[in-house]
Amino acid sequence: MSVTTETTYSSASQAMPIGTPRHHIIIFAVLLGLLLIAPFLLYPVFIMKILCFALFASALNLLLGFGGLLSFGHAAFFGSASYVTAHAAKVWGLTPEVSILLGTGSAAILGLLIGALAIRRQGIYFAMVTLAFAQMVFFFALQAPFTGGEDGIQAVPRGNLFGVLSLADDRTLYFVVLAIVFGGLLAIYRIIHSPFGQVLKAIRDNEPRSISLGYKVNRYKLAVFVMSAALAGLAGSTKSLVFQLASLTDVYWTMSGEVVLMTLLGGMGTIFGPFVGAAVIVTMQNYFASFGAWVTILQGTIFVISVLLFREGIVGVLSKWIKKPL
């Protein structure tokens, strides 16, 4: 455990190696540029929602696309972090950055507990185990007094960043959220391209071979599980400040399914896929909100089509097309 984390941290703190493809830097720069002007053209709350889900989907993609582990219970981390942050900000009156850190930290701890058990099984079993644990977290959230049960935690104050900068204005908050999410995405990028990330991919592609090479496979799996959980938690914490709300929706299993859908649609194992997937799904939910159950049917259809015809996802197809990894 200590070995793996050390590897990650040391490589993450290094300057960007020469190996970073130039088109990745360009895409990140263009994306950042677009996101900087977006709130002046579009509704900021809507883009913030996309950003939060983009981070959530990217966190899942770290585990699924690069670790080869399909978690069907990531809502547990997203949701519990959002509850902790909301509680810290509302009841304890902590500042937003501390609340978010607390939320992210608790998601990481939960990730350690669930991950330690779940990695004992592989493949489909792993998916079912994570799903079942997430359901346990759901029941906990439903019954624990501090979560407010069905009502959730409402009217969470956005507070003042570092105690000075008021986040009540949507645009101010937007740039803070942008910084958090972009930071999270870059962190994921670094993890993937670190030596740790290389080992992960090796395990994903051929686990027995990695074992025979002497890697402690389970430690790597657990480490990536915890990182993914923590980042999902970061997304959940940020979301609870944006919407000033933490609710059961965040921990319900349909949320886990939705984020898998985003990742699948955008492209598993790509850098930018989850972002695209999240943007498409959130936009769709937003504009089809009045069509009721058709949203579910449409989501299901996208799932089926993606699996049958479109397994590389949107970005995966693009990447094949321009013959460069995206």
């Binding site: 489909i124 799903l131 644990f133 359901q135 009721g292 049917i297 799932f303 699996v307 049958l308």
Partner: protein, 295 residues
């Protein structure tokens, strides 16, 4: 009269029996999952939706065509099983060369579609389905009032479970099935149409879910979400039992129903979590599940 932890023994017997009844549903559903998993190596996430379809088709049969309950018990599994055959032919069969996770994702998408369609068509308040007149009423067992219908559920479930077990473990057809699970190429070389066998197996697994749905229609509310939450519990049952054997799926289903029934007496708040707690413990002690073979 003695009491056990403050609960009179009569009440305890009653709760055990009720647990057994719930276990019947778990057993039927986890059996279907096990049969499908055994041959297709996919986890059928739409199993809950197909269970719901069973209940709905039974309702439609009664309302539109006047098919009574007893007819529905036979017709509905066939109809829903046939939709399963179509799904397998059109979609699932394209995924066998891929990672099993895609099967899970595909069936998850299918579950969303099926539930969404039924929600659009029938609303969510639920539809009434009466207990067949032959089975209405109940018997006073002294320690509890046992509705005849519930007794029938246990009997029907045991019969179907035993029949399935016998067919797979003790007949020639079952031998082919088991052989195809181990080595499809070799079995194909003996002149057996393996793809068709796989298709029919999926159809059979789905039919089992639909059968459970028909059984459930008179006692639970027939609504589009009835399978959505149940399927997750059944997943936990499957993880606990392990996918090693048909008998394992059946025994775990009934056993966990009873355990859940007991928690409803001693600590009702935890009854929905009990199965997941057991799952965590089993994973710690015996990661392959109680009846599972280490993969």
């Amino acid at each position: 009269m003695f009491e056990l932890l403050g609960i009179p023994p009569q009440a305890l017997f009653g709760q055990l029996l009720l647990g057994l009844i719930n276990g019947s549903f778990y057993a039927l559903l986890s059996l279907g999952l096990a049969v499908i998993f055994g041959l297709l190596n996919i986890i059928n996430f739409s199993h809950g939706a197909q269970y719901m379809m069973g209940a709905f088709v039974a309702w439609m049969g009664l309302t539109y065509l006047g098919i009574p309950y007893w007819g529905a018990l036979i017709v509905v599994p066939l109809v829903v099983g046939a939709t399963g055959v179509v799904i397998e032919r059109l979609m699932i069969s394209r995924l066998y060369h891929l990672d099993h996770l895609y099967g899970l994702l595909l069936t998850f998408g299918l579950a969303l579609i099926i539930q969404g369609l039924f929600r659009n068509g029938f609303g969510v308040s639920g539809l009434p389905y009466s207990i067949p007149s032959q089975l209405s009423g109940g018997t006073n067992l002294g320690f509890m009032f046992l509705p005849n219908y519930r007794a029938w559920v246990v009997v029907a479930s045991l019969l179907v479970c035993f029949g399935t077990w016998f067919a797979i473990e003790r007949t020639r057809l079952g031998a082919y099935l088991r052989a195809a699970t181990e080595n499809p190429t070799l079995v194909g070389a003996f002149g057996i149409n393996v793809p068709r066998m796989i298709t029919l197996t999926y159809g059979f697994g789905v039919a089992l879910a639909a059968f459970a749905g028909v059984l459930a229609a008179p006692i639970y509310s027939v609504n589009p979400n009835m399978g959505a939450d149940l399927i997750i519990v059944v997943f936990a049952v499957v993880v606990i039992g392990g996918m090693g054997s048909i008998l394992g799926a059946i025994l775990t289903g009934f056993g966990l129903g009873i355990v859940e029934g007991l928690t409803k007496v001693f600590y009702p708040e935890a009854s929905s979590v009990a199965i997941f707690v057991i799952m965590a413990i089993v994973l710690l002690v015996k990661p392959a599940g109680l009846f599972g073979r280490t993969a």
